[in-house]
C-alpha cells in the first residue's frame, strides 16, 4: 500500500516534469529553428546582393536598352559582357542572373533584358526581350521598390513548397546608369542547397540536447524529490507505525532527523508533538487507572468488611423456633450503605433493623458501620424503639459535617407474645402478611431520617404478630430497581410478588423477591443495594421436652412411649392423646421411611404447650432430603376396597385430626409442625 503510493507520487511528479520539459523543448526548437532559417536566408540574400552588385558592374547600364537589339548582341562588347556575366554565374554558383524591366507600372509582366543560367541546370536562358508574368505579387512589389529607387536591395524567398525549382532566394539590386538612375532590376537566384541538410542537423542536435536535458532534469528531480519529499515522508510514516506498535517515544525525534524548513519539516514537528502528547496522555491514564484500581480494591475490601459485620448465618438462632428469620443483601457494584441487623436484646426481645445510608461509596460505608453499631448497642441497653432511634439520631447528628443521613426502621419483637413495637425514621413501610391473609403495607408514622436533625422525636407503633404472620422489610433498592426503560419495580409489584406465595418461609419469600427483581430488571445493572429481611412468627412454644432419636421404625415404640408420657404430664384427655399419638406416629414413620432412605439419620421431636390457646405443639425436624409430605394429594376415601390405594392415609389422618399442620424447609432441615387445640378450661399442671 505505502510502496504503491510512493511510486505513484514519484511517477506523477516526474511525468509532469518530463511532459512540461518536452513541450518546452519543442517550443524552443521551433523558435530556434525559425531564427536559424532566417539567418541562413539572410546569408544567402547577402551573397546574392554581392553577386548582384558585381554583375551590375559588368552590364553597360547606360546602354541597357541596346540589349534588345539583336545586332548589338553580335558585338564583341556584348559578348564579352555576357561571358563575364556567365562566368560570375558559374563561379558564384548562382542558378540564374537576369535583368528585368517593367512591361507595365505594376510589374504584372516583366521583360527580360538578358539571362544567364548555371550549367548545372539544363535550361536555356530567356532571350532578351522575353516577356512573362511576374512569379508572385511579392516579386512585383519588390521589383517596383528597387526600380523606383526606394530600396537598394530586396530579396524574395521561395520555399521548396512554393516552387518547382527547389528552395531558393532571389536577391534584387538596382542597375543604375552613370546618372544614377535606375534602368533595370538585376536578380540573382541562389538555390538554398544548404537548407535541407542544415535543418536536419539542427533538428537532430536540438532533439538530442532536449532529450539529454530532460533526462538530466528528471534524474535530478527524482533524486531531489526522493531526498526532500519521499524519504522524509517515508520516515514519518514508519515512525508513526513504530509508535503505534511500541507506544514509546523515538530515540531520535523526527524534527531532528528531517532537515529543511519546509512543510514536511512542519509535519514532522507536529507528529513529534502528537506522539509526545499521546505518550503523556497514556502515562496519565495509566496512573489514573492504577489509582482507580487501588481505590476499587480498597472499596472491595471495605465492602467485604461491611458485609462481614452484617449477620449472615442462617438460621441465626437455631435454638429458637418461635420464629423463622431470613435476610439478604445484594450489594450494588459500588459499595453502598444498606444494612440489616437482628439481635436479642434479652431472652424474649428480638431487635430487627433495616436501614439505608444516603449516598454511596466509602462515606456511606463508614456511616453505615457507625449507625449499625450505635443502633445495636443502644437497643441492647434497653428502651423502646422510639427512644433508641432518638438517641442514635442525636449521636449521628454530632459532628455530621458532611450531612449524611440514614433512613431506618427498628422493630422490637417480644418473642413470647408476638408483640412488635416499631419506630420508623423515614424508611419504607414494612409489609405484613397475617396468617389468613395477604401482604399489605403497615403504614406506620414516619419520623425524620437519622442524622438529619438534632432533637428529632420518633413515634411508636405496636402490633401483635399471630402465629403464621410474616413481616417483610426492605430498602429502596427493591422498589427502585429499574428495568432497561428505567421503569421502577415499585411498591405494587413488591406486594404482587410477595403475594404469589404469601405464606412461604422467609428464605423462599426473599428468593421469590430476588427472582422477580432479576426478571424485571432484564439485564439492567443493579444501581443500588438490594436489602430485604423477613420474619415469620410461629408463636410461643413452652418446650417441655425434646427427643432426639434415630428415625427408624424400630424406635417407634420408644417415641410413642415418650409422647404418651409427655401427654400424660400435660393431662391431655384420652381421646386427644390417641389422636396426637396417631399423628405423631404418622409423621415419625414418614421421616423414618423417606428422609434418609436408604440410610438412617436423626430426627428431633419437640413437644410443647401453648397455655393461652390450650394447644399441644409438636415439631419434627430432620436433615434429610427436602420433602413436603403435605403437598401430596389426599386419598379418595369414597372408593371401594378393591380400588383403594394403600398409601397416603397417614398424612391424611394428621391433616384431619390436627390443627395448623405446617411444613417448612429451612436451614437444610424439614420442619413439620402441628398443634392440637384442647377443648378445656383447666390448665395442665406446671412442669
Amino acid at each position: 500500500m505505502l510502496k504503491a503510493l510512493r511510486s505513484k507520487l514519484a511517477v506523477k511528479i516526474i511525468a509532469g516534469i518530463v511532459g512540461s520539459l518536452l513541450i518546452f523543448a519543442v517550443l524552443s526548437s521551433l523558435i530556434g529553428y525559425s531564427a536559424f532559417e532566417v539567418a541562413l536566408e539572410e546569408r544567402y540574400a547577402d551573397t546574392g546582393y554581392r553577386i548582384g552588385r558585381l554583375a551590375a558592374q559588368i552590364v553597360d547600364a547606360d546602354n541597357l536598352d541596346a540589349y534588345l537589339d539583336a545586332d548589338y548582341r553580335q558585338t564583341d562588347e556584348y559578348k564579352i559582357a555576357m561571358r563575364r556575366l556567365d562566368n560570375v554565374t558559374q563561379r558564384m554558383n548562382a542558378a540564374f542572373i537576369y535583368i528585368l524591366q517593367p512591361v507595365d507600372d505594376e510589374w504584372k509582366e516583366v521583360r527580360f533584358l538578358f539571362e544567364t543560367v548555371n550549367d548545372n541546370y539544363e535550361l536555356s536562358p530567356y532571350l532578351p526581350g522575353h516577356v512573362r508574368e511576374s512569379a508572385s505579387e511579392e516579386y512585383s512589389l519588390k521589383y517596383g521598390l528597387i526600380y523606383d529607387g526606394k530600396s537598394e536591395e530586396e530579396c524574395v524567398f521561395r520555399s521548396a513548397r512554393q516552387t518547382t525549382t527547389g528552395a531558393h532566394v532571389s536577391s534584387l539590386v538596382p542597375v543604375k546608369n552613370s546618372d544614377g538612375d535606375v534602368v533595370g532590376v538585376l536578380c540573382v537566384q541562389l538555390q538554398m542547397v544548404e537548407l535541407g541538410p542544415a535543418r536536419a542537423k539542427f533538428l537532430k542536435e536540438i532533439a538530442l540536447a532536449a532529450l539529454v536535458m530532460i533526462a538530466l532534469v528528471a534524474l535530478a528531480y527524482g533524486w531531489s524529490i526522493r531526498r526532500t519529499v519521499a524519504k522524509p515522508i517515508r520516515r514519518i510514516a514508519s515512525e508513526t507505525v513504530r509508535f503505534s506498535r511500541d507506544n514509546e517515544l523515538p530515540e531520535v525525534s523526527l524534527t531532528d532527523s528531517i532537515k529543511g524548513e519546509d512543510e514536511i519539516k512542519l509535519l514532522a514537528m507536529h507528529v513529534d508533538k502528537m506522539e509526545y502528547a499521546i505518550k503523556n496522555y497514556t502515562e496519565n491514564l495509566k496512573t489514573v487507572t492504577s489509582q482507580k484500581d487501588r481505590m476499587e480494591g480498597e472499596l472491595n475490601v471495605a465492602s467485604g468488611i461491611q458485609q462481614g459485620i452484617i449477620p449472615n448465618t442462617f438460621p441465626p438462632f437455631p435454638e429458637r423456633d418461635e420464629f423463622s428469620l431470613y435476610a439478604h443483601m445484594t450489594p450494588a457494584k459500588e459499595v453502598g450503605g444498606d444494612f440489616y441487623d437482628f439481635f436479642f436484646i434479652d431472652d424474649d426481645h428480638l431487635g430487627l433493623v433495616i436501614a439505608d445510608v444516603s449516598g454511596k461509596g466509602a462515606p456511606a460505608a463508614l456511616f453505615m458501620m457507625a449507625t449499625k453499631i450505635m443502633v445495636k448497642n443502644r437497643a441492647q441497653l434497653g428502651g423502646t424503639p422510639a427512644e433508641v432511634l432518638a438517641d442514635v439520631n442525636q449521636q449521628l447528628c454530632e459532628g455530621n459535617y458532611e450531612n449524611m443521613f440514614v433512613t431506618a426502621w427498628l422493630g422490637i419483637l417480644e418473642v413470647s407474645t408476638g408483640v412488635l413495637t416499631t419506630a420508623n425514621a423515614g424508611h419504607e413501610y414494612p409489609a405484613i402478611c397475617h396468617a389468613d391473609g395477604t401482604f399489605e403495607f403497615f403504614k406506620d408514622k414516619h419520623g425524620f431520617v437519622l442524622g438529619g436533625m438534632s432533637g428529632t422525636k420518633y413515634r411508636e407503633e405496636v402490633l401483635t404478630l399471630q402465629p403464621g404472620d410474616t413481616l417483610f422489610v426492605y430498602t429502596d433498592g427493591v422498589t427502585e430497581a429499574a428495568d432497561r426503560d428505567l421503569h421502577l419495580f415499585g411498591t405494587e409489584r413488591l406486594l404482587e410478588t410477595l403475594n404469589v406465595s404469601p405464606h412461604a418461609a422467609p428464605e423462599e419469600l426473599l428468593g421469590n423477591m430476588a427472582a422477580s427483581i432479576h426478571s424485571f430488571a432484564n439485564g439492567m445493572e443493579q444501581a443500588d443495594d438490594i436489602t430485604m429481611l423477613a420474619l415469620q412468627y410461629h408463636g410461643q412454644v413452652n418446650h417441655l421436652r425434646t427427643l432426639r432419636i434415630d428415625a427408624t421404625q424400630e424406635n417407634l415404640t420408644e417415641v410413642s412411649a415418650w409422647i404418651e408420657e409427655m401427654l400424660q404430664i400435660l393431662d391431655i384427655p384420652m381421646k386427644e392423646q390417641m389422636q396426637i399419638q396417631l399423628a405423631a406416629e404418622e409423621i415419625y414413620i414418614n421421616v423414618a421411611n423417606y428422609a434418609y432412605a436408604p440410610g438412617v439419620g436423626p430426627v428431633v421431636i419437640r413437644i410443647g404447650y401453648d397455655m393461652d390457646r390450650h394447644a399441644v405443639k409438636l415439631a419434627f425436624v430432620d436433615q434429610g432430603m427436602p420433602y413436603d409430605p403435605l403437598a401430596k394429594e389426599d386419598p379418595d376415601t369414597t372408593l371401594s376396597a378393591e380400588d383403594r390405594e394403600i398409601g397416603g392415609l397417614g398424612i391424611f389422618l394428621v391433616k384431619k385430626t390436627m390443627d395448623n399442620v405446617h411444613y417448612v424447609r429451612s436451614n437444610h432441615s424439614n420442619i413439620l409442625t402441628f398443634e392440637k387445640l384442647i377443648d378445656r378450661t383447666d390448665d395442665p399442671i406446671e412442669v
Binding site: 417407634l556 376396597a641 397417614g650
Partner: protein, 97 residues
C-alpha cells in the same frame, strides 16, 4: 405391643386383638393372618381391647379385606379407633358390628 389370638372355624377366621395396631405391630397381624388365610372366606376381628390404630394398621386391614372373597368384620370397636375408620372411609369397605 399387640397380642393376637387367632382361631379358625371352617371358612371363618376369628382374630382377637389386644393393644396397639401401629407400624411396629401391624406386620405381626399380617403374618398371623397369613398363616391361617388358606380357605378363609371371611374374617372377624374383635377390637374390644384394641386401643389404637394407625395407618399401618389400616393398610393390613385393607390387604386382608382384598385377600378374601367375603367380609371383614370388626366388632366392639373403640371410639378412637372408630374415628380413624370414619375419617379414612374404612367404615364403608369393612363391616362394623
Amino acid at each position: 405391643m399387640l397380642n393376637i389370638n387367632a382361631t379358625k372355624t371352617d371358612a371363618i377366621l376369628d382374630l382377637v386383638l389386644e393393644g396397639r395396631l401401629d407400624t411396629v405391630t401391624a406386620p405381626q397381624l399380617q403374618a398371623a393372618a397369613n398363616e391361617q388365610l388358606a380357605g378363609v372366606e371371611s374374617i372377624k376381628i374383635d377390637c374390644k381391647d384394641l386401643a389404637y390404630i394407625s395407618s399401618a394398621g389400616l393398610r393390613v386391614l385393607l390387604t386382608l379385606r382384598k385377600s378374601i372373597p367375603g367380609e371383614l368384620i370388626l366388632r366392639n370397636v373403640d371410639p378412637s379407633v372408630m374415628e380413624v375408620l370414619e375419617i379414612t372411609g374404612f367404615v364403608d369397605i369393612l363391616t362394623i358390628e
